[in-house]
């Protein structure tokens, strides 16, 4: 294949991947209020119940209130759950119940475009959700606005890494009910032991080491650096860098396992 036709082919592939993501967005906005509800209600409840009510009973070290401590985690959490559920249940339903990918693959769309489109959708959706939540936190005066422009990057990286975990889980489950095991044994521990609710300094040493394997932990650290406006350069380099590496590694692993589900 000549250089020109390779570029042309790559361009077509990207266009089709973007169309796959656009298709998901079109479907999403058809049930916009149903789809957006968890993203609106969950962070609001976290701010009120945990941040405000529970926070008023919690004595924190330094000047930062418990609400301000927890707030960046809420932004990261939004990207985390958005991407995991879309990558797991969303992809599984499209693959097995709706047969959408089968239909798409009667057109010039192939497995590569489907997976690229999924990653694009997971990344963008997570980035938009995390940014929207962060904006509200800033407007309410809970978080600092200085580095808000970095939040879409954080959301995108959480989206692609944690979304890949969701997609990967599709290759291990034998039916839709088994996602509950993935949620209980992988997602819940990642969520609760992340530095979002309590500083990692209070955790046992073994846990402190283990959580470095969790992309969500790095997402929370990144969100905290950005929305507290503290040590942003270092946080971006260490946790942002590791999140990027994890995102690439998980995407690569997911790709290897899920490709044969689409083309065999």
């Amino acid at each position: 294949m000549s250089m020109h036709s390779q570029v042309e082919s790559g361009h077509q592939s990207l266009r089709l991947s973007a169309l796959v993501a656009h298709r998901h967005w079109t479907i999403y906005r058809r049930n916009f209020w149903a789809n957006i509800s968890p993203t609106l209600v969950d962070p609001t409840l976290y701010v009120i119940v945990f941040g405000s009510w529970l926070g008023s009973q919690v004595q924190t070290q330094g000047d930062r209130s418990y609400l301000a401590f927890m707030a960046p985690g809420i932004s990261a959490m939004t990207a985390f759950f958005t991407s995991f559920f879309e990558g797991s249940y969303g992809f599984y339903v499209r693959l097995t119940y709706e047969n959408i990918y089968k239909a798409l693959m009667t057109t010039p769309v192939g497995p590569r475009e489907i997976l690229l489109g999924e990653m694009l959708w997971l990344g963008l959706k997570s980035a938009i959700m995390a940014t929207a939540v962060s904006l509200v936190l800033v407007v309410l005066g809970i978080s600092k606005p200085h580095y808000l422009y970095l939040i879409p990057l954080m959301g995108f990286l959480i989206g692609t890494s944690c979304g890949s975990i969701g997609l990967l889980s599709c290759t291990f489950v034998q039916n839709i009910n088994q996602f509950q095991s993935v949620y209980a044994w992988i997602i819940s521990p990642m969520f609760f032991v992340s530095g979002m609710f309590v500083p990692t300094s209070v955790m046992p040493d073994i846990i402190k080491k283990l959580i470095w394997m969790s992309p969500f932990y790095h997402g929370v650290q990144l969100a905290q650096g950005i929305l507290w406006a503290e040590n942003v350069g270092e946080v971006l380099l260490v946790h942002g860098g590791l999140l990027l590496v994890m995102s690439v590694a998980l995407t690569f692993w997911m790709w290897r396992r899920i490709y044969p589900k689409l083309y065999f």
Binding site: S9, S13, L16, L19, T26, T106, P108, G110, Y263, F264
Partner: protein, 297 residues
């Protein structure tokens, strides 16, 4: 067997497919010519759908060579599918979108601009009597309407080859006739049709040539008439005996009249009417896929 003069539009040479240890397709060779309706027949698990999926490049082949419109589906599936329309076994329509939106969305995947796609979609919806439903959501459609819409979707790209994987399964006779009419119209306009079906009447009616497959291997090939003449000429007598349906083939009218007394005896004993008819594709199918008939020369 005489072949059309044109060069084949599809060429398969010794194509094989293995899933793990299971052989799905075994050294299958066939040629399909422009403008013909070609059938792939066989019982469940014969490998028809696997072969169909290899043709449009969503299943890889384990061995052999396959070219469709000059493309290797394994290497050039994106380019190839611009010229293919596929009606899958599943309707797989987007439930959250309307009929028209579904079709316009698929036009974009084929790289057709909305301006060009919209009138063509409307025309296809009209041809398949779906105009009244164009703004309806998919869940409001009956099974027959969804199937017709799957046809519209397959025709959006003005395909050179239309692939139909059991297109009329589960449909009522009226819808089947509408779809048959559309298939014949497309064929008359020069579209090549590749069809899999479990309905022998459908295959006999639509196919110029067909193959009968069983357990991944080719058991017979030719036009419906040729297959009947080669494998099951004459007449078939069907009657009930010991709660089982017995099928007897008589290769000539003389053979049939010679055995008429035996046949009449069965009818008088069982009280179940005997059916006599010229042999058809179903008899060939049953014979070639291992359900032997009792033959009487």
């Amino acid at each position: 067997m005489s072949q059309p003069a044109a060069l084949p539009i599809l060429k398969a040479r010794q194509v094989g497919k293995v899933f793990g240890t299971q052989v799905a397709i075994k050294d299958l060779s066939l040629e399909i010519y422009p403008g013909e309706c070609f059938g792939l027949l066989g019982p469940n698990g014969a490998g028809k759908s696997t072969m169909i999926k290899m043709i449009y490049g969503v299943v890889s082949r384990s061995s052999g060579d396959l070219t469709v419109l000059g493309f290797d589906p394994q290497k050039d599936s994106r380019a190839l599918r611009r010229y293919l329309g596929v009606v899958m076994q599943e309707d797989a329509l987007d439930e959250a979108m309307t009929v028209r939106e579904n079709m316009l969305m698929f036009s974009r995947f084929h790289g057709i601009a909305r301006k060009e796609a919209a009138p063509h979609v409307d025309q296809l919806l009209a041809e398949l009597s779906l105009t009244a439903k164009s703004q309806a959501p998919i869940f409001a459609l009956s099974g027959g309407m969804k199937r017709r819409l799957a046809f519209v979707r397959a025709l959006i790209c003005r395909p050179k080859i239309l692939i139909l994987d059991e297109p009329t399964t589960g449909l009522d006779p009226a819808v089947r006739h509408v779809l048959w009419e559309k298939i014949r119209q497309l064929k008359s306009q020069g579209t090549t049709i590749i069809l899999t079906t479990h309905y022998m009447d459908e295959a006999e009616l639509l196919c110029d040539r067909l193959v009968i497959m069983d357990q991944g291997a080719l058991k017979g090939e030719g036009s419906p008439r040729q297959l009947i003449a080669t494998h099951c000429p004459g007449y078939i007598v069907i009657y009930q005996e010991d709660f089982q349906t017995k099928r007897h083939q008589f290769t000539s009218l003389k053979a049939l009249t010679d055995h008429l007394e035996t046949v009449q005896k069965h009818e008088s004993q069982g009280g179940v009417p005997t059916m006599m008819r010229p042999s058809n594709l179903e008899d060939v199918f049953l014979k070639l896929t291992g359900r032997e008939l009792d033959e009487h020369a």
